[in-house]
């Protein structure tokens, strides 16, 4: 995407403050690539005591629907190794209260808002998108991949045609100039095919990935832990899976901006996603462990770039797909049109006679 990266030695590393972490997501430039992930930050306000929310890329709000939703019964959560299962069921106040309270709070506090929308039908999504016209929204994320819907077989993101229909409805109704990102599920045979269909339908970018479906069973009660039986698995347990999805989609669609999501816990985890092809990252479950994680991860990412002598985050997007960069000493002769050197041939070696 960009030119060759100059990776220098740490002796002339860039001061952290001078590093450019800004990222261009389908024409909208964000000063920082770290966002909160939908469903893990409510609508931001609860995290204000622990983060400067204006400094991070933005808050991706919990998926909002047209009507208020109570969510599912409890237990809604089960801790699993390096992760958790949740079956919240998209609890939320509905779009009216969301616009009046949550989105207003974000705007009043100069926090960039990425609004996640979810619906039960293509029509729902279209209506939600049109409700965002004239609102302080930096980007729209279309949640077509929540596993906690009534009919778990009907996740839009598991079907090429359904994904495209939803994305097209959103793009048609959404405010122009506001990028539309589709958030995809890893629970598919070919995520590239879904990604391609969303882009063809007008998605300006992709958020990869939502949770993957799992079950936990209580060996005392001998029944599923979650009231909803199945739940979405998140946290570091799914990081390699998420990274693989980002890798595959970036390889197939290198010009489509990606928000990388899945088990990011540190700045180096975020860097992995950038190297795989993400232009930005969202941090989710780690917030439950560390409510100041969004700010911390941004700080750690900046330090990671400084350590590597990289000035611009954008230069690293997808870098891992390219062949290794060889570090060339500064006093080496510049490459030119010199003739190919003769192939190296070893000289014959004579051996001493072995000692008695």
């Amino acid at each position: 995407m960009s030119g060759d990266v100059t990776i220098r030695t740490s002796a002339d590393a860039t001061p952290a403050a001078d590093i450019d972490l800004s990222t261009d997501l389908a024409g909208v430039v964000f000063p920082d690539p770290v966002f909160t992930a939908s469903g893990c930050a409510a609508a931001g306000r609860e995290l204000a005591p622990y983060n400067d929310l204006r400094a991070i890329g933005g808050v991706v709000t919990k998926s909002i629907q047209l009507r208020p939703r109570s969510g599912r019964p409890t237990p809604r959560m089960a801790e699993t190794p390096s992760g958790m299962l949740n079956s919240i069921g998209l609890q939320g106040p509905g779009i009216d209260a969301f616009l009046d309270n949550d989105l207003r709070w974000l705007a009043d506090n100069d926090v960039r808002a990425v609004v996640s929308i979810a619906g039960s039908s293509v029509d729902d999504y279209g209506k939600l998108a049109s409700r965002l016209r004239g609102q302080p929204v930096s980007l729209i994320e279309v949640n077509i991949s929540c596993p906690n819907v009534e009919d778990r077989g009907q996740v839009f993101a598991c079907d090429v045609g359904a994904s495209a229909a939803v994305v097209a409805a959103v793009r048609r109704n959404a405010p122009s100039g506001v990028p539309v990102f589709a958030k995809l599920s890893p629970d598919v045979t070919d995520i590239v095919a879904i990604a391609q269909s969303c882009v063809d339908a007008g998605a300006n970018g992709l958020s990869l990935i939502n949770t993957t479906l799992g079950i936990s069973i209580d060996t005392t009660t001998m029944r599923p832990v979650l009231a909803g039986t199945t739940g979405g698995l998140s946290g570091p347990a799914i990081r390699p899976l998420a990274l693989r999805c980002v890798w595959q989609v970036h390889a197939a669609l290198p010009h489509v901006p990606i928000m990388g999501i899945g088990g990011i816990r540190t700045g180096l985890d975020a860097l992995e996603f950038v190297l795989a092809g993400a232009s930005a990252v969202q941090v989710g479950t780690v917030i439950f462990h560390d409510p100041s994680a969004p700010s911390r991860i941004s700080r750690e990412l900046r330090a990671a770039l400084a350590d590597r002598g990289v000035d611009r985050l954008a230069d690293l997007v997808g870098l891992a797909h390219r062949p290794p960069v060889l570090t060339v000493p500064e006093d080496a002769d510049p490459p030119g049109d010199e003739p190919e050197p003769a192939p190296f041939l070893p000289r014959p070696v004579e051996f001493e006679e072995s000692s008695p």
Partner: protein, 293 residues
Amino acid sequence: MASTTRNPVQVRGEVLSVKQVGDYFAMTVVASGIAEQTRPGQFVAVAVSGDDGAMLLRRAFSIHHVADRGVYGGTVEFVFAVHGKGTAWLAGRRAHDPIDVVGPLGRPFKLPAQPAHCVLVGGGYGAAPLFMLADELRKRGCRVDFVLGAANADRLFGALDAKRMAASVAFTTDDGSYGERGRVSDVLPEVIERTRADVVYACGPMAMLQAVQRVAGEAYDGAGIPAQVAVEEAMACGVGVCMTCVLPVIGDDGETRMVRSCVDGPVFAGDRIRWDALGTVPSDAVGAAAMGL
């Protein structure tokens, strides 16, 4: 929701001590910024298993005691039982170990504006937050009586403190190993009558809280007195973002909503909780209809 003046902080604290108390553990953490702000009934959310550990979810514990000054600066004490790997990890901490604590969190007990007669009911280590509350109530000129119950004598928490602070203490154990055999709700009607109680405060298991609310509601031949109850719901974050700790609660407008016990509680007016619907979403709850699509 009305915003409150509380300002929780996240502190990289240090373990000052871990003491075994009967069947429980009491951990004191040096965590400046939390102690000064804590009001009775609030809680802390503690990270377990370290920065790279496999357990991601915070454990929430009622604040038992705070000291906002002294040689160590502010300290916070909480009480826990070893139920699983997370609490076992906590019990294995030693003095000077680092520990990440967020607090104070949640809405505290509401205090009577005028001196009142108060019965404080604790079940097991759920009694932990009641001693700060008793202190505060006594400062306000309230009469304080305790009812403490548990499965057995080793699981009674704070018996000595209760005896020291209260006008009277009634004990119950399921096995009769200490005090009366039975439940706190068995003796509570008599305690309310005898102490001419105006209000009940309670913390403990949900089934106990439900029984306490029933007794409070039936007190004085059905006239009833208010009960302030601190609930114990499983939480993942403690700060209001995960939406796992919800329970059905009736709001000022009469509508039932699935509210977060971490930010809208953990203390609720007992008559606002839909006790019979715990663990479910009542069909008349706001937004329940949208779930059935």
